[in-house]
């Protein structure tokens, strides 16, 4: 059926009819407008990030992956399941990169049941291995929204009030098989302040609209694979926390990495109670400042005393979400009469517009603007000025 010539060809999906907006420039070249479109789509993501709001830094997210019959559909290549799992791997990486002190768990639903693929944990490796294994699973029957949500909620409701409780559902099927009235469950979710977001792979389903609206989540339906990726990445950023959520001071441990010197007579390889890489013997590690349990990786919650162990860079990385860098102002190239070179990469400013930091008035090119906002999270020129005399 894919060979039928028709309007919506799959391979055209990525550039939805972009030729309709194309215009030739004076020399008859199309290049400029194509770049314009790409440029606009890049720019959009930066602008959309919200300003000063309270964010849930410690996130507990359950991702529910639909593994019902409809996941075998081949409108995403090679099929919906494989494509989803691939994107999920990237998502998990990105998620822990941006939210180092948060946790993720994965639930799969098929055949009217819901099962945990991985428990809530803060280590990306375990999830990624599980996701890679799941590629071979068979897609059968209908999904069950109710069962998935209640399974997730069983764990989430025990999470402390200052953390954000989130569920992200990737739903391919248009039907759900529920054992009880889902609207009751939605009420419970709402009272527990669990935020449910849905990414639909086929079309808008009413019950998801209600579910996300009631719990304060977002609901999106994908257009194609690249859109899917974009939507999934939206969930990497921590959501604004509701004003009602508790604030509390939490104890955290900042262990130093110590390697027992071999010359030390007392040094013995010691046992690590870590879950991620399995119990093993090693010389070095992080020692919990409270109970001296040893861990090879951070961040982790101490198995012995329950203290959250992180390193300072972890916190710092989460920190930038709280103080996002202001979007740079876009100035058309003609109106700009200053430097002809980007302050960051020192390249010549060739694009139609340049970007100016609102506080230090330095100008940047598009690429650097994106890099600064996506990765650096601070303006290099501002930092430079501060450190100077």
């Amino acid at each position: 059926m894919d060979e039928e010539p028709e309007r919506a060809k799959r391979w055209e999906g990525g550039y939805e009819r972009t030729w309709e907006v194309l215009k030739e420039d004076e020399s008859g070249s199309l290049k400029a407008t194509v770049e314009e479109i790409l440029f606009q789509s890049k720019r959009k993501r930066v602008i959309e990030s919200h300003g000063q709001v309270r964010l849930g830094m410690m996130r507990h997210l359950y991702v529910v992956i639909d593994c019902s019959r409809s996941m075998e559909d081949q409108d995403l290549k090679p099929n919906r399941l494989t494509s989803t799992l691939k994107l999920m791997e990237a998502f998990v990486e990105e998620y822990f990169d941006q939210n180092p002190i948060s946790q993720v768990g994965i639930i799969m639903t098929k055949n009217k049941r819901a099962e945990k693929l991985t428990d809530l944990a803060g280590n990306p490796k375990k999830h990624i291995t599980a996701l890679q294994k799941a590629v071979d699973s068979v897609c059968v029957g209908e999904p069950s929204l109710y069962n998935s949500l209640s399974l997730a909620v069983q764990t989430l409701k025990h999470m402390p009030g200052h953390t954000s409780r989130e569920i992200l559902i990737i739903l391919s099927s248009l039907t759900t098989c529920d054992p009880a009235n889902i609207y009751e469950l939605i009420k419970t979710l709402k009272s527990l302040k669990v935020r449910v977001s849905v990414i639909g792979l086929s079309a808008e389903v009413r019950v998801c609209t209600v579910l996300t609206r009631e719990t304060g989540g977002s609901y999106h339906v994908i257009l194609d694979e690249s859109h899917f990726k974009e939507l999934l990445m939206l969930h990497v950023k921590p959501p604004p926390s509701s004003s009602a959520s508790e604030c509390s001071l939490i104890r955290m441990g900042f262990p130093q990495h110590t390697i027992a010197s071999l010359s030390d007579q007392d040094a013995k390889p010691s046992f690590t109670p870590s879950v991620s890489c399995g119990p093993g013997l090693s010389l070095g590690g992080y020692f919990c400042p409270q109970c001296h349990a040893k861990y090879t990786e951070l961040p982790v919650e101490c198995k012995v005393c329950g203290l959250t162990l992180v390193s300072a860079p972890h916190l710092a990385r989460s920190f930038h979400h709280l103080f996002p860098l202001d979007a740079f102002t876009e100035i058309p190239e003609e109106e700009h009469h200053g430097d002809r070179f980007c302050q960051a990469c020192q390249g010549e400013l060739k694009d139609k517009s340049v970007f100016m930091c609102p506080s230090c008035h330095s100008v940047f090119c598009v690429e650097c603007d994106l890099f600064i906002h996506d990765s650096l999270h601070c303006c290099p020129c501002c930092i430079h000025n501060q450190s100077g005399p």
Partner: protein
Amino acid sequence: MKLNIEGLLVYFPYDYIYPEQYSYMLELKRTLDAKGHGVLEMPSGTGKTISLLSLIVAYQRAFPLEVTKLIYCSRTVPEIEKVVEELRKLMEFYSKETGETNNFLALALSSRKNLCIHPEILHANIVVYSYHYLLDPKIADLVSKELAKKSVVVFDEAHNIDNVCIDSMSVNITRRTLDRCQNNVDTLQNTIQKIKETDAAKLREEYRRLVDGLKEASVARETDIYLSNPVLPDEILQEAVPGTIRTAEHFVGFLRRFLEYLKSRLRVQHVVQESTPQFLKDIFDKVCIDRKPLRFCAERLQSLLRTLEIADIADFSAVTLISNFATLVSTYSQGFTIIIEPFEDRTPTIANPVLHFSCMDPSIAIKPVFQRFQSVVITSGTLSPLDIYPRILDFRPVTMASFTMTLARTCLCPLIVGRGNDQVALSSKFETREDFAVIRNYGNLLLEMSAVVPDGIVAFFTSYVYMENIVASWYEQGILENIQRNKLIFIETQDAAETSMALEKYQEACENGRGAILLSVARGKVSEGIDFVHHFGRAVIMFGVPYVYTQSRILKARLEYLRDQFQIRENDFLTFDAMRHAAQCVGRAIRGKTDYGLMIFADKRYARADKRGKLPRWIQEHITDGSLNLTVDETVQLSKHFLRQMAQPFRQEDQLGLSLLTLEQLQSEEMLKKITQIAHQT
């Protein structure tokens, strides 16, 4: 907002307006200015009701002498309630804006329990009620007789108005009717006996009055106080009631004779069809009943019932029906036919004789309305092709316009499926109706759609029989079982209680995410009265072209009449009728600009220009050449694409300036130019 419509100040109770509403009001104003009739088609969900009300109320206030009353006729009680709700909003807006207390009186007649008989209601500025109050001669006489000539009459959802007219004039007589009538006559006889013993003067007084004739009614008609009653023809008013039925006993005897005659006519073994003159001749030959007393029958009975002071008229419905029949049959020599069937077509073994006295000319019932009121507006979401309504209703409109829906996004997606995946032509036409391949492909279409359309799908079949056959066949092939994995299935039946139960469960399944399919029948209850907003109808599938059952004798007679009297060919009328029902069915899915839905026409005949051209313009303009003869697979691909597009966030800001306007936007030159293109004059 306050609008200026060609110099008329119109208060519009919303902050935003659709361009087509503005255009609609322009056309409406021109109709009122010309004091003529209008036919206006505008898609449902674009705010027809409020546009109508705002403009006409504004007109009434500006020219109180030109237009005194608005008579708004709608079809069902929920629709009437909707009108009243909008009217209330409008009135609140008026009192807020002008600061003066509201001196407008509006009246809604819905059911007897809400009825008010305070004399002040006669002076109401706006009357909202059902069609029947104006069209059905039995009720119109009671309710609408005294409405002023300078009224504006609006028929909303009027795409079926010709059938309403015909039904209101037709009479069906069964054995049961005659039995009840017999009882009525006996009761009359007894009452007359009783009164004769106690109050003979009363009967004498009545007799004297009848000698004077129906002068009163005649005077009233000449002085133009009343809406004329089509059951009471002009000629009768000039004459006195004939001597044969002037006394009460004679009249009862006359009724008995007439009744016996009808009974004898029902004792037939074969189908009889005859014209009214033939019937009159036969009745004269058999029981010596002349044409003249028959014509006075209805009026004479009314007079008798009044004289006898019978309170509960409802008990005498049978005898009233028979006397109305007598008057009609002797008054109209054209436009009616009499068909006597000894049994129903479906059950040829069970004797159930019915005498159909069938009206074939809808203009008879509506004629008084057009003649009396200065402006009559016929409006609906589906009135295409516009020119046929003036022809069958026999009037000359001053404006005929069809409005399109301005859309910020294409929220409707009409697709014509002509072939299955195996290239078998899909059609419900008689020759291929039983064809296994067609049925299988139809099943396949529904199955595939059930997997890609979220929440609710409504499927329409051409008739109950056809639906039963297909569903049985799907069951045998296991298609139903496969569909049920995706969605639950509900079926409309002829039983009203069962159907409303099915509807309720259908909506529940759409609501909680299970998804459901409703199998129903074009022309059934679901296709006419029930809206499937948003998730309740994401797709409508029309299996086949819903032609009316052409073997019916009544229909054949009507087609013949249309051909002879109005020069409308049988085929043209049948196609028109089928397409208006198809449009009604698919239109159920789109009830507003934020709504979206697929419209799937599963029959290759829809691709033909004569069928497609009869769809409303707002649907037609979205049918591209590429979507004329699709296979099932192509349909599924297009649907998937459409549904994903529609699921993208859609906010009010996206509509602003395109399909939703603020006052400033409306006043811009460019927009006014665009608006003139919305109305499509015919």
